[in-house]
Symmetry: C2
Subunit: 319 residues, 2 copies
């Protein structure tokens, strides 16, 4: 089969890679569509030292198991379900886990992928395949309200107008009347304006301490420092940005202003699929470009270009 493989020499398309073999509890899924995410671009830069087939946002058709022949999407953490952490209700943090396309498990930028069956979610008939690719990043946005209470009057700033910032802003704007997105790209901010969400360019940002909650979706080293400037004393910063390697910053304001920083990662797929089925979130305008899997290397380059939002890979013969 075809697969986009990250090797010691960079990423390349393989056309004769062996089909994945389903391990115990896994089923094979023929990939219809996959999305390129900021994490994929970080992996290309060395984050986590991953080697193998990239890709963790996908929709496909199950080739066996209870969902055989139906469209599915899948949670990315493959947990052991046997250890103390899994039993404590934190399977996403299982120390023995693999992660699709990120950690010791081949991913979805391929014609097919093997996924633990319990990770799969049926895609409702009312959700088209392009939209369903956004289930994983949208779930990550819905993780925020599982971690902290969001009130109608909370002043919320989302830093970053990219893919994840857009989704987080849409989710939070359904919970608070005061969501402001701060970004660097007028074209991306205009898309949020069109949804009725307030936006500003970084250079025009509000004064120090203006927000109760700041969500860092910048994917940039400077994001947390900007967030520390914008959050009020005793406010909360939600950290979505993962940086490969170290970063240098002043953390004294965290103590002096008694800030809470909450790391936030994967979220509830069922809530994301419900939102897509209910038309609560606009995702299709985020699609900037689409490529056939055979042009995957070019697609990854495109996803890293300025001004680009979501780039889709179309794997099976359903373009």
């Amino acid at each position: 089969m075809r697969a986009l493989v990250l090797t010691d020499d960079g990423v390349r398309l393989e056309t004769d890679r062996a089909n994945p073999v389903a391990a115990a509890g896994e089923v094979r899924v023929r990939v219809l569509r996959a999305g390129i995410c900021e994490t994929d671009l970080q992996l290309l830069r060395g984050y986590k030292g991953f080697r193998g087939v990239l890709g963790h946002e996908f929709v496909g058709v199950a080739l066996d198991g209870v969902f055989e022949g139906q469209r599915v999407t899948g949670e990315i953490n493959c947990s052991c379900w046997a250890c103390e952490r899994c039993h404590a209700g934190r399977p996403g943090h299982c120390p023995h886990r693999t992660v699709l396309g990120i950690l010791d498990h081949d991913g979805a930028f391929a014609d097919s992928i093997a996924v633990p069956e319990r990770n799969l979610h049926l895609v409702p008939d009312t959700v088209d395949t392009d939209s369903a690719v956004f289930t994983e990043p949208l779930a990550a946005a819905y993780q925020i309200p599982t971690q902290l209470a969001i009130g109608k009057s909370d002043q919320i700033i989302v830093l970053g107008d990219g893919r994840l910032g857009n989704l987080c802003a849409q989710v939070l704007a359904s919970m608070s009347d005061h969501v402001l997105v701060i970004g660097k790209h007028p074209n991306k901010l205009r898309m949020l304006d069109a949804l009725g969400i307030e936006t500003r360019l970084l250079m025009d940002r509000p004064p120090h301490g203006a927000a109760d909650i700041v969500v860092d979706c910048t994917g940039s080293e400077s994001g947390l420092t900007t967030a520390l400037d914008l959050v009020r004393p005793r406010g909360t910063i939600v950290l979505k940005t993962t940086i490969a390697g170290t970063q240098t910053l002043s953390l004294a304001p965290v103590v002096v202003d008694e800030i809470t920083i909450v790391g936030s990662r994967c979220g509830p797929f069922n809530r994301a699929l419900d939102a897509l089925a209910g038309g609560l979130v606009d995702v299709k305008t985020l699609i900037t470009d689409r490529f056939d899997l055979s042009d995957g290397v070019r697609a990854l380059q495109r996803a890293g270009e300025s001004g680009v939002l979501k780039v889709l890979l179309c794997a099976a013969d359903h373009l």
Copy 2:
């Protein structure tokens, strides 16, 4: 009067400094005893660029006002009580505040100090003057349970066996059965052992992810990185350490493991005074040394030496 003054040329004893003038709402307090804190040592190294009389942990006798002639201690944040933040119940974070001996307000390493009267707390007769000096740092330890719920079965690690680490450990050990202090100084750890609190040397620390809650009282740049290693996924780090300037570290684990970091600073004086009056906390064994105010420069040097816990300055003629 005498005063220990931080100037552009370092710290020096002045013997002919003018007595402080009480501003509106302030009273003068004749200082009996003052404590040297890690923050004082940070200020000497340039933290916050403070210039003026150092000192914010003190007990004295009020020279006027409702407490005239009685022993008092005082909260350190001098707030405006008029702005939005003060009205929102966060006077400790008032943007117009001064802070005794730390920010635009002369401190307590002097024969007398001027303090807003509403900052003062009467020292109960059952609490001796040496113990009452610990009210401010003990209140900082009691801030932790105001910020997060502490349960009997929570696995808590306190990083740092210094002054604040000791007090935090004592406070938390009254709330959880599983408090472990990790430090570098066998003599300081033995003091905690004697109180029935489990201790370990840093080199013998528990494995990755062992703690539900880690409190960083190291005062060191490496503290947060160690805390990130010791806390379990979805656990909480309480950050007490303030570092002057920037620090370099990897924050990806905060996101990947969904850690919550809570900055923690000043706390409730009434709870600390109650604990001192009730004999719930042992503070006097923390006193390593005491100096007359006239030997204050030497006292500051002593406080920075390895193995030293609390150094007291004795200002008035009550040695």
